[in-house]
């Protein structure tokens, strides 16, 4: 092996300085170096590029696209795109956000903050739905669809009639219930002056009693991170309203039987097509087909005949992981009708398919996608 070379003697380098427009600048702060200077970096943004990204909508309606929609159009769109998490009536599923209700609760012990009870600006609803929803399939809604879904959310909050056509023109007719419910940060006046005092060091209080203990509630995850959700959450969590989601690294269920090798029965093409439509409800969480990956839910390739809780690398609820058995058509049908009844403790948030026809169809579709 070659000997490790001695490091070269350090070379005296002139004070490093960014050169700009021929001027040498020496400064401790980059800002001083760049003050008033342009570096000629970047390129001009093209109008099409700005149009593609500059989609934010301001409270006065600036940025709203052309289009319109009402709650009648919005209902099926909401059912298809939003109801899996937010419920058919925007009432929320598990602890996914509730979008309707809560009027007059903001001063209560547990305020319910929804579009109707809390959101001060209509623009925010359009902006967020159009840009960031549905969860897992953002930016897929057209302007008309977004207007219709927003109208359905407003209708669910009794804020507009079902035939009220929401558009840029009717925008200002909608009154938000909590529009006047906000004040700008007043901590400087209400808190800082009070607390910028010389702190007490001795004899600051007569007695000290323990008034509450965290271990009584017992909602802290153990070191492995697995913990049952608290039965009742009196102390509402801060980050978001919450559904129990088990993080336990579940062992794959027993033996994963290989999908039945018997020749598959011929599929009903019409039923497969109908099932593909129904599957849109599932797509936010589940992938199927070539290259399907685990997302919020496990990938569903060859689900019919697959072991229950059997996909490697997916963190199932312990209920699902320990269930055992195989997803035959009967089990899938029962699960899809009422997931939480069939496997108590599943973390699948979906409430279930109400129509038997939809269940039959979606199972047929899932059979058709087996790679």
């Amino acid at each position: 092996p070659a000997p490790i070379p001695e490091p070269e003697a350090p070379v005296q380098v002139a004070e490093a300085a960014p050169a700009s427009e021929g001027i040498l600048v020496s400064a401790a702060h980059a800002d001083e170096a760049s003050a008033g200077l342009r570096f000629g970096l970047g390129r001009e943004a093209l109008p099409e590029e700005i149009a593609a990204w500059n989609v934010d909508v301001s409270p006065d309606g600036t940025g709203l696209p052309d289009g319109s929609g009402d709650a009648i159009d919005g209902e099926p769109l909401f059912e298809e795109n939003c109801a899996v998490c937010h419920g058919s009536f925007a009432e929320g599923v598990d602890n996914w956000p509730k979008l309707a209700g809560g009027d007059g609760t903001l001063a209560d012990e547990d305020p319910l903050k929804t579009v109707g009870s809390y959101w001060p600006y209509l623009s925010t609803v359009f902006d967020y739905v159009h840009r960031s929803m549905p969860f897992g399939n953002a930016q897929s809604l057209s302007a008309d669809e977004t207007y219709a879904i927003v109208a359905y959310i407003l209708y669910s909050n009794d804020m507009i009639d079902d035939d009220f056509v929401l558009s840029r023109d009717s925008w200002t007719e909608v009154e938000m219930g909590n529009a006047d419910g906000f004040i700008i940060d007043d901590r400087a006046e209400t808190e800082y002056a009070q607390w910028r005092t010389e702190p007490c060091m001795e004899n600051c209080k007569e007695t000290v009693e323990i008034t509450m203990r965290a271990t009584v509630l017992d909602v802290t995850p153990d070191e492995e991170g697995a913990e049952e959700a608290p039965a009742e959450m009196d102390h509402s969590p801060a980050v978001a309203t919450a559904a129990p989601v088990e993080e336990a690294a579940a062992e794959p269920a027993a033996e994963a039987p290989v999908a039945a090798a018997a020749a598959p029965a011929a599929l009903d093409a019409e039923l497969v097509a109908a099932g593909e439509k129904v599957f849109k409800k599932c797509k936010a969480c589940h992938q199927v087909g070539d290259g399907a990956k685990n997302k919020t839910g496990p990938q569903l390739n060859a689900i019919v005949g697959r072991a229950i809780g059997g996909v490697d690398g997916f963190k199932y609820s312990s209920a699902m992981a320990e269930h055992g058995g195989v997803w035959d058509e009967a089990a899938l049908a029962a699960f899809l009708a009422k997931p939480k009844d069939y496997i108590k403790g599943t973390k699948m948030a979906f409430a279930g398919l109400r129509k038997d026809d939809d269940i039959t169809a979606v199972i047929e579709y899932l059979k058709s996608t087996a790679p």
Partner: protein, 392 residues
């Protein structure tokens, strides 16, 4: 008798260890595998849009390694390569611009250490002592050395003559992920110390912290530190996005809510001893340590109480407080098995003294959710175990 670890030749003292090619990018040794981020599964509906917590109870010093710095995503941590990265500046600028990652690296660069704290840190404790560990009560915080470009440099490159008077102007910043997590920042702050970072603690940002580029908004709530930063728009008003209206607003007892509560007030916590870091040694010397920080500037002093706030003594700062960065404090003391109600109290350069939970509740009620910077109490028992408690 003699310690066999000393008197007997150990395997590691006679055999060989790993070669230099064993771990091209190293991970902590297996004995430290409990020092990890943890989440609280019941907090959120889905781990894709959720938060986890820095193991502050097990760290020392002030710099948070990226691998255990808390994460908050609104639609998951995305993979965005440098080659696919674009940053747009548009709106009230002289010339709307698009930068590549390489462009950003050609501007004069700065390094700064800042803390990033989620506005919801300690938010679960408003109604009472709930989570039993400093990681869970105070772990929505990290502190890193960032390398990047001041935002004002980039804005100047696009030209701000079109913006006119900065006084009533805002910048709207958004990310490239599906949530976009857009936030509005007043121009005064944007031109002050906000910067666009692409390295943390010397290495590229981790995916979960916004690789390749994130915004750093010193002293202000973490939600504004937009990750995967893709667009900056100069505007004549705030967008009032979801994240600054329906979330990150603080509801008071009468039902009205504060908005634009950006600054993180002075705060501290004893990280050890604490519920996840009990006293395991016997009586005698004990190091009490913790972290203090303020979004208003430097920490100038931290006091510690062992009796639930009856008496206080001033702790030793490991180093002089730095602007909007974590400060480590130590109280080198003696413990002889007595029960303690351990508290710490931060004071910053503006004279702000960290309040008690009772003081905060008196002004805000119980439903503020965000910005709970109250004094924390750990009940250390005679056996050295500690518990999160609330005291009168």
């Amino acid at each position: 008798g003699p310690d066999p670890l000393i008197t007997e030749v150990q395997e590691w003292a006679s055999g060989l260890g790993d070669g230099v090619d064993a771990t091209p990018y190293g991970l902590p040794i297996k004995f430290e595998d409990d020092v990890v981020r943890r989440n609280v599964p019941w907090l959120t509906a889905d781990p894709i849009s959720s938060i986890n917590f820095t193991p502050i109870h097990a760290l020392d010093g002030t710099i948070t390694p990226q691998g255990c710095a808390f994460e908050r995503h609104h639609s998951g941590a995305i993979e965005l390569s440098k080659a696919d990265y674009r940053l747009m500046i548009n709106g009230l600028v002289d010339k709307p611009l698009v930068f590549t990652y390489e462009d950003l690296e050609r501007f004069p660069r700065e390094n700064h250490v800042y803390f990033c704290e989620c506005a919801a840190n300690t938010g679960m404790e408003w109604a009472g002592a709930q989570l039993n560990g400093a990681q869970f009560t105070h772990g929505m915080i990290h502190n890193m050395e960032y390398s990047g470009v001041p935002l004002r440099t980039l804005l100047a490159e696009a030209g701000l003559d079109a913006a006119g008077d900065f006084k009533d102007k805002w910048v709207y910043v958004e990310g490239a992920d599906a949530s976009s997590n857009g936030r509005s920042i007043p121009m005064e702050k944007a031109m002050d110390d906000v910067f666009v970072a692409f390295k943390a603690n010397g290495e590229a940002l981790r995916k979960e912290h916004g690789y390749p580029v994130r915004l750093v908004v010193p002293g202000w709530e973490g939600n504004m530190w937009v990750k995967w930063l893709r667009r900056i728009e100069v505007m004549d008003g705030p967008v009032e996005s979801r994240e600054e209206t329906s979330k990150y607003t603080d509801t008071l007892a009468d039902g009205t809510s504060r908005k634009w509560t950006w600054v993180m007030d002075a705060k501290s916590v004893v990280t050890s001893p604490s519920p996840q870091s009990p006293i395991k040694h016997g009586h005698g010397p004990l190091v009490i340590t913790g972290l203090a920080w303020s979004g208003h500037g430097k920490i100038t002093r931290v006091d510690v109480s062992k009796d639930g706030g009856k008496t206080w003594e001033t702790a030793r700062l490991a180093a002089e407080g730095e602007d909007k960065a974590l400060t480590r404090f130590y109280l080198d003391t003696t413990w002889n098995g007595e029960e303690m109600l351990l508290q710490s109290r931060a004071i910053d350069e503006t004279g702000y003294v960290q309040p008690t939970k009772a003081q905060l509740r008196e002004v805000r009620g119980l439903n503020s959710v965000y910005h709970n910077n109250c004094i924390q109490t750990w009940h250390v028992k005679t056996n050295g175990e500690a518990e999160n408690v609330e005291v009168s």
